[in-house]
């Protein structure tokens, strides 16, 4: 079969042609393209990496800022809450103190009033006593104007004393 017999001339020309093509393409063709494509691929990869990194960083920053806002909010809430508590506490305390003061004042007033009343009573009693003494002095003076009556009284007093003593002796 002629088809299956490689011709020498054709072999030669094919080798030559393929050799030249191989040389030219290996020297000026594919390495140039491959290098360029490779470099571009690397560049794209690194760009993607950088973009990823930036994204991650941005996300972190966003998270951070969110956290800061949240924290500030919480602080505000806390401050508000503690301020309210403080206010309530102060009001309660003031009220308690005022009540106590009032109670103390009332108690003091009551004590004073009692004291004063007793004083008044005591004064009254003294005055009543002094009046009684003065009255009885006046009465006695009236009664004991003469000698006779004086002796009579003395006797009677002596009797009284005697009877008193006998009573006590008996």
């Amino acid at each position: 079969m002629g088809l299956l017999q490689p011709e020498l001339g054709l072999l030669f020309w094919t080798s030559l042609a393929f050799g030249v093509v191989l040389f030219l393409l290996c020297k000026f063709g594919f390495p140039v393209i491959l290098r360029s494509v490779e470099e571009r691929r690397k560049f794209i990869d690194s760009s993607i990496d950088a973009a990823h990194e930036a994204e991650v960083r941005l996300e972190r920053v966003t998270l951070d800022s969110e956290a800061i806002v949240e924290k500030a909010e919480a602080e505000r809430q806390m401050i508000l809450r503690s301020a309210g508590e403080e206010r309530d506490r102060i009001v309660t305390e003031a009220r308690a103190k005022a009540e106590e003061e009032a109670r103390r004042i009332v108690a003091e007033a009551r004590e004073q009033a009692t004291e004063e009343r007793e004083q008044i009573l005591r004064d009254g009693r003294q005055q009543v006593a002094a009046l009684a003494v003065a009255l009885s002095e006046k009465l006695l003076r009236e009664e004991l104007r003469d000698r006779q009556s004086q002796t009579k009284l003395a006797d009677r007093l002596l009797d009284e004393i005697n009877s008193q003593t006998t009573n006590t002796e008996a």
């Binding site: 020498l8 054709l10 080798s15 393929f18 560049f43």
Partner: protein, 380 residues
């Protein structure tokens, strides 16, 4: 340069435009067989086998078409070395119709039918050393020029690229896409860690075969020669792979051939395994050669035969001929589409097998270890 690129793009468009290609092919084929038709009108039968073989086989002139009695063909240079050691170089038009020139003529029959033979004094026919630029060689040159133009023009656009240059459009973008897919699909996975060293060769082989296959499908001169369907061409390609495999083969690769890891009785008294491995050295490129050759040859033959249906049925009446012509056109369109696929597939398969053979010859214990580790990692 721009103009040339445009023409190239047009040509490549032709290759992917099967309908157009089909019509053109039909026209070209029609004219190619017109002569035979005329003969058949005079009572002779159309010799389909002759038509197909004359296209598939090599010839000394590039027949384009025949109009009536006139044959339009491009004469090609004949370069032969005669018995006396002289080199003869002349146009193949001198040998038309069995004419003899400087003692050479094209043999009509015998072992050298269709080849240039030298008539010696005692009437014997001797085959001289024949380095003629035949149709296949001319087609090969044209295809190589096309390939070089495409790749080098594209490479020129890449030469001053910076690392942050933008991706190219147009032809460069197409070529880059194909290169990328061949690199990522075949070369890197098949060759292994040493791929940088072999990538230019494998890419060249891929594009060489691909361009030749596609150009073979375009039926208009200067394309359309059956280049990759010629065994000498595929033999050279297979030899290139053979050398790439064996010249750069590692010590482990040679050890695998002459002292493979099999039970000792398989290699000591009678070296069965080494013998098989050694034969395998040659069967691998041989299979590459035959596969590409047979596929492209068969594709060309089928398309031609389908086209010949039109003329083979010419004498059966208008109805039959018309119906069969329609069938022929439809089938040819289908076959051309299929051949487009085959053109790519065969280039792909050749490159892939070459890459696999090269990768196998690059293997070392360390690599094996590494690849196993990588596999383990990926499995995990």
């Amino acid at each position: 340069m721009r103009f040339v690129i445009n023409i190239l793009v047009l040509l490549s468009l032709l290759a992917v435009e099967p309908v157009w290609a089909q019509t053109e092919e039909a026209v070209a084929q029609a004219e190619a067989v017109e002569e035979t038709i005329e003969a058949s009108e005079q009572g002779e039968e159309l010799d389909v086998k002759q038509v197909v073989l004359s296209h598939i086989a090599d010839s000394y002139e590039w027949h384009i078409c025949s109009v009536g009695e006139r044959h339009i063909s491009v004469p090609l240079p004949v370069i032969v070395r005669s018995q006396s050691g002289e080199w003869h170089c002349f146009s193949s038009s001198k040998l038309h119709h069995g004419h003899q020139y400087e003692g050479f003529h094209i043999a009509e029959e015998g072992a050298y039918a269709g080849k240039i033979v030298e008539q010696t004094a005692d009437g014997e026919q001797i085959r001289p050393l024949d380095f003629s630029i035949t149709k296949t060689v001319a087609g090969l040159f044209v295809n190589c020029a096309v390939l070089l133009l495409i790749v080098l023009c594209v490479a020129r656009r890449y030469r001053n690229d910076q690392h942050d240059s933008k991706a190219k459009g147009g032809l460069a973008g197409v070529l880059e896409m194909v290169i990328e897919s061949v690199m990522d699909g075949i070369i890197i996975p098949c060759v292994g860690p040493n791929y940088r060293k072999f990538a230019p060769y494998l890419l060249t082989a891929f594009f060489f075969i691909f361009v030749n296959n596609l150009m073979g499908l375009i039926p208009i001169f200067p394309a359309g020669a059956n280049v990759t369907g010629n065994i000498a061409v595929t033999l050279v390609l297979a030899m290139a792979t053979f050398f790439a495999v064996n010249i750069f083969g590692t010590k482990d690769y040679w050890k695998e051939i002459f002292w493979p890891e099999v039970p000792t009785w398989l290699k000591v008294p009678i070296p069965i395994m080494p013998a098989i491995e050694f034969i395998g050295l040659f069967t691998k490129p041989f299979s590459l050669m035959i596969r590409l050759f047979a596929n492209i040859l068969a594709g060309h033959a089928i398309i031609l035969i389908l086209t010949c249906i039109v003329f083979a049925t010419a004498k059966m009446g208008a109805a039959v001929n018309g119906a069969m012509s329609a069938v022929s056109v439809v089938l040819s369109i289908f076959m051309n589409c299929l051949e487009l696929l085959v053109a790519f597939l065969q280039a792909f398969v050749f490159t892939m097998l070459s890459a696999v053979f090269i990768g196998a010859a690059q293997h070392t214990e360390e690599h094996e270890h590494e690849t196993k580790q990588i596999e383990n990692n990926t499995n995990n």
